[in-house]
């Protein structure tokens, strides 16, 4: 037993056999911590929703807990497969996601309206959440194959990979997710070595596409309203009944956060949260529950946790042993960053209102599972950086 007292130097040889010894514990702990807070806040924010729906008080919490557990399992599975095998399998993954996405569109059409999910038993599975990760992996895989030789045609192919998925997602009327995919793809491509001229051309292309969509009326009225609702926030003196739904969402959301003050009303004491004044509060507007009940202290702590998460992802982008790892880490980083910024930003009125969930916080199984898978992928890259 005497030998234990002497420090044992860490040997490189241990790396191969103890992959999980190189896990980024911080990156592992942060999603768990945020998910735990998320469950609490869903419990808090669903009080009114469950009451009027005649549901069990724990209805949403139970379902979200199940999603978190499935997400953790999915994360472990993703971590256990060497990411290089995933890298090489990108065309397969990409081809697999397309029918799933398209299937939703067809199903939705059959239901006579917009639909972005499959009903799987009691759960709704939303392929577009997984599609975000698949697009990151696909573009990263493609760019990895052609690293150092990314000419205009190859950029076009990479853009096409993202563009096809975006088009299908847009057909699901899910503008928010489409924009998230666009940001992820753009971030990966920029790191992959996109030349400035490519960037300019792509920006022009995107601008003309958006312009065409607006002119031809492909953009729906409610989508424009959400954008204008964000721009026109002077609803102070407009009675609730006269506001558009978007303006009402926004004023209720901002009012709830503002009423939190420094310390917040206390868990379960915020009157807006408790009485269901903020629509969609347990899903897209979960941050308002944090803001009202936990105040600036709670809101800033949550943002800090997200910032730490972003930092760990960014760090892994630099530490990765191969180009694919860097690209995936940046893609996931961009995905989380844009979702956090857009979601939290819209609740505070600095971004337009879209249906983008707050990672690990918002109620919604597919998003939670996808988020865990994304983190799992990056953890995978981190722990195999020496192999």
């Amino acid at each position: 037993m005497a030998s234990i007292s002497a420090p044992v130097p860490r040997r490189r040889g241990a790396v191969n056999t103890h992959l999980f010894g190189h896990i980024d514990l911080a990156l592992l702990a942060l999603p768990l911590a945020i998910s735990a807070l998320g469950l609490l806040m869903i419990f808090d924010a669903s009080r009114h929703e469950t009451a009027i729906g005649g549901l069990s008080r724990l209805y949403y919490v139970e379902r979200q807990s199940a999603a978190v557990i499935i997400g953790i399992i999915a994360m472990i599975i993703v971590m256990s497969i060497d990411y290089r095998r995933i890298r090489d399998a990108w065309p397969l993954l990409y081809l697999a996601i397309l029918p799933l996405l398209a299937g939703v569109v067809v199903l939705g059409r059959n239901h006579g309206g917009a639909q972005a999910w499959f009903q799987v038993g009691p759960f709704q599975f939303q392929p577009s959440e997984i599609a975000k990760i698949v697009v990151i992996v696909a573009i990263a895989g493609y760019c990895h194959q052609h690293r150092g030789d990314l000419d205009a045609w190859r950029v076009a192919v990479a853009v096409g990979l993202a563009g096809l998925v975006m088009a299908i997602v847009y057909a699901q009327h899910d503008l928010g997710t489409m924009l998230v995919i666009m940001v992820c793809a753009a971030a990966v491509l920029v790191i992959a070595g996109l030349k400035p001229v490519h960037i300019v051309v792509m920006l022009m292309l995107a601008a003309s596409l958006v312009g065409a969509a607006v002119v031809t009326g492909k953009v729906h009225t409610y989508q424009i309203q959400r954008l204008t609702g964000f721009a026109d926030q002077s609803t102070k003196n407009v009675p609730a009944a006269d506001q558009t739904a978007t303006q009402f969402n926004l004023s209720a959301s901002k009012a709830a956060i503002a009423s939190g003050g420094f310390e917040g009303a206390g868990f379960g004491h915020g009157m807006q949260t408790k009485n269901g004044f903020v629509p969609e509060q347990h899903t897209d507007f979960i941050f308002t529950a944090v803001g009202e009940d936990l105040g600036f202290v709670g809101g800033a702590t949550l943002l800090l946790l997200y910032a730490l998460l972003a930092w760990r992802l960014w760090r892994i982008a630099l530490l990765s042993s191969d180009f694919f790892g860097t690209l995936v880490a940046v893609g996931v980083l961009a995905m989380f960053a844009i979702q956090i910024f857009e979601n939290v930003g819209m609740t505070m009125g600095i971004m337009p209102i879209t249906g983008i969930p707050l990672p690990f916080m918002s109620y919604g199984g597919s998003a939670v599972i996808a988020s865990f898978i994304a983190v799992g992928l990056v953890l995978n890259i981190h722990m195999r950086r020496f192999t």
Partner: protein, 650 residues
């Protein structure tokens, strides 16, 4: 990884730091910074204040008899959101159950004097059996509720209506006025005092409503117990100086007088044939001469305050507002303005002596007419009174005596503007031509003088020549003013207060002008103890000097001397001794106003009583008998009916 990629990853890092920084900044702004106030919207969205009116204070008479009080009543209400078909069906069913014509229910439902925001009250004071009939079959009466309401109840309904004033919903006010009331905590459907004591003492009577701050969900439904409760406080009781018995007699006497006047000939139309008087109303005031408290204030025609309870019906509103109704809402005692006729001689008599123009002891010859620069000024009925001094002039109502004095004043005015307007000065001292300071709304009246005449001409004529001509202060102006004709206007309350001032100077010959008032004490409704007692307010004094005795004797003679103008009207009344002055004021195109101003007992006077009937003929014919009835009632004597005298002199 290439260095280029490293740089690019670093740039991504910077971008992300910037994004997080902006989120932190925005969060700070919203929760800790300038936009913190948005949180107040959150509170206003999620809370409501439920306000329940506290019981309104009672109005009592000087002996504690209740004149107005809040009582609980069961009412049937119908919601406003029903389709017209459902509403008509429901009203039809209710008509059957309540035994009220559907037409009446519909009229109540649609009455503009009910708040359109609250359920309509279609029937008040619903007996228990009818309540049960509706409640047991609630499903058959969609939108119908049986509710307990607090309603105003008037134990002496129909008496002192204009003095008490009515309650109606604040919605009747203009949006601008309503906004001000809203700031004071009134909400649509709340009752507020209109006119009279209810309006003048609104803040005392209303009390503080109970306010519960409750949490609501987005649909407005209350959640949980109230966050904050302000229990409010019931309104305070106001005890008036009114004696409801005297008030009742005054109103009855007035009504009897108005009725009796209908049988009299309208002498103003005698030249064009025989026409009867068409009296349109009248007023009577009883004052305590020692402090200005009002014992009775009657106005005719009158109405029942209960008409307003639960929203006035269209029929009743027509009775109040139709042109032929002669405006029963108007308190003629304070808002009616009338030429005072010979009752104004109190002022002229005082002025003649105060300014030493025509001393009380000096006799003049009354030939029935005074010639002023070729214009004859005649006594009523061209009566020749012979040698008259002040006392006799008052007793027999010699106009010539006062014409002479007024002409003297006019001549003085030619050389001494201030002294020449002695009549106007004394009128002002006695409270004419300006508000008395009474609690209820009142008119100012008018005493003409050269300044007024100029202003009037300027306001009513266009050319400079017309204005100049109509601005001239002629002898006739002063002469008419001296006998209460022409442009003199007084309110019955002003007249009573002037006679009260003379009466309370009985011992010292210096009269005190009190502020007439209705308020006696404000009483806490719980402890029944006075919380505030009205202190009588003296406004000024008037020195009657040596002429007092002659004037007092003159006023006494009006009633007591067989030659007195009101001798017949008071014949047989041996106690108490009454002093007074008749008045018959000519009104252009109408019958004369009948007036009688008095005080009693003549020795050490206690009360001043004034009665007036529009188009009532001679003062002695109608007004004096009304006063007699009031005096008899105060002294618990049998009431003498108003006689239908064929002739009388003024």
């Amino acid at each position: 990884m290439s260095d280029n990629s490293r740089v690019r990853v670093s740039i991504v890092g910077v971008v992300i730091v910037a994004l997080f920084a902006s989120l932190f900044a925005r969060l700070w702004f919203l929760q800790m910074g300038p936009e913190q106030s948005l949180g107040k919207i959150a509170i206003s969205l999620s809370t409501r204040v439920i306000q329940t009116e506290s019981p309104r204070g009672e109005i009592l008479d000087r002996n504690g008899k209740v004149l107005a009080q809040d009582v609980a009543a069961w009412a049937v209400t119908v919601d406003r959101n029903l389709s017209s078909a459902t509403r008509d069906r429901v009203l039809g069913q209710l008509a059957e159950v309540l035994g009220t014509p559907e037409k009446v229910l519909l009229a109540n439902y649609t009455s503009v004097r009910q708040s359109p925001l609250a359920p309509a009250i279609v029937k008040l004071r619903v007996p228990l059996s009818q309540q049960l009939a509706i409640r047991e079959h609630n499903e058959d009466y969609p939108g119908v509720h049986v509710v307990a309401l607090t309603i105003r109840s008037y134990p002496y309904d129909g008496v002192a209506s204009q003095v008490l004033g009515y309650l109606s919903q604040v919605d009747a006010f203009s949006p601008k006025e309503f906004k001000q009331l809203e700031a004071k905590g009134y909400r649509p459907g709340d009752l507020i005092g209109h006119d009279g004591v209810e309006a003048a003492y609104e803040s005392v009577l209303r009390g503080r409503p109970r306010r519960e701050t409750v949490q609501v969900d987005p649909s407005g439904k209350q959640i949980g117990p109230p966050l904050k409760v302000d229990p409010g406080a019931p309104g305070k009781n106001v005890q008036l100086t009114i004696d409801i018995n005297v008030q009742k007699v005054a109103e009855e006497a007035l009504a009897e007088g108005v009725n009796a006047a209908r049988g009299l000939q309208d002498l103003s139309k005698a030249t064009s044939g025989y026409a009867k008087l068409k009296p349109t109303g009248g007023a009577a005031v009883v004052l305590d001469v020692h402090d200005g408290s009002v014992l009775a204030m009657a106005s005719n025609p009158t109405y029942n305050l209960s008409w307003w309870v639960g929203g006035i019906s269209t029929d009743h509103f027509a009775l109040l507002s139709a042109p032929g109704a002669q405006n029963p809402l108007l308190n003629r005692a304070t808002l009616g303005q009338y030429a005072p006729g010979s009752t104004f001689k109190l002022v002229t008599a005082t002025a003649l002596n105060a300014y030493n123009v025509l001393p009380a002891s000096q006799y003049i010859t009354d030939n029935g007419v005074l010639d002023v620069n070729g214009f004859p000024f005649q006594n009523d009925n061209k009566e020749v009174n012979g040698q008259v001094n002040l006392q006799k002039a008052l007793t027999v109502s010699s106009d010539v005596y006062f014409y002479t004095g007024a002409w003297d004043f006019w001549n003085i005015w030619q050389v001494d503007k201030a002294r020449g307007l002695g009549i106007q000065d004394v009128a002002s001292q006695l409270g004419f031509g300006k508000p008395t300071g009474f609690e209820l709304s009142e008119a100012s009246g008018r005493i003409p003088d050269p300044a007024w005449k100029t202003a009037f001409a300027k306001a009513n004529y266009k050319t400079a020549e017309e204005i100049r001509q109509n601005s001239i202060w002629y002898p006739a102006d002063n002469i008419h003013a001296a006998v209460g004709q022409g442009d003199d206007f007084v309110t019955p309350l002003q007249l009573a207060n002037a006679y009260a001032t003379f009466a309370n100077g009985y011992a010292s010959h210096v009269g005190t002008v009190w502020t007439p008032h209705l308020d006696q004490t404000v009483i806490d409704p719980m402890t029944k103890k006075p919380v505030q007692t009205y202190a009588p307010k003296a406004r000024s004094t008037v020195n009657f000097g040596d002429a007092y005795s002659a004037m007092a004797a003159g006023f006494r003679g009006v009633v007591d001397d067989p030659k007195g103008t009101a001798y017949d009207a008071f014949r047989g009344l041996t106690f108490p001794a009454v002093s007074g002055k008749t008045g018959t004021a000519d009104v252009t195109g109408k019958g004369a106003t009948s007036l009688f101003a008095s005080y009693f007992p003549s020795d050490n006077p206690q009360y001043a009583v004034v009665a007036l009937v529009e188009q009532g003929g001679h003062g002695a014919q109608i007004a004096a008998p009304i006063v007699r009835q009031i005096i008899e009632s105060i002294n618990h004597l049998p009431i003498t009916p108003v006689p239908t005298l064929k002739t009388a002199k003024d």
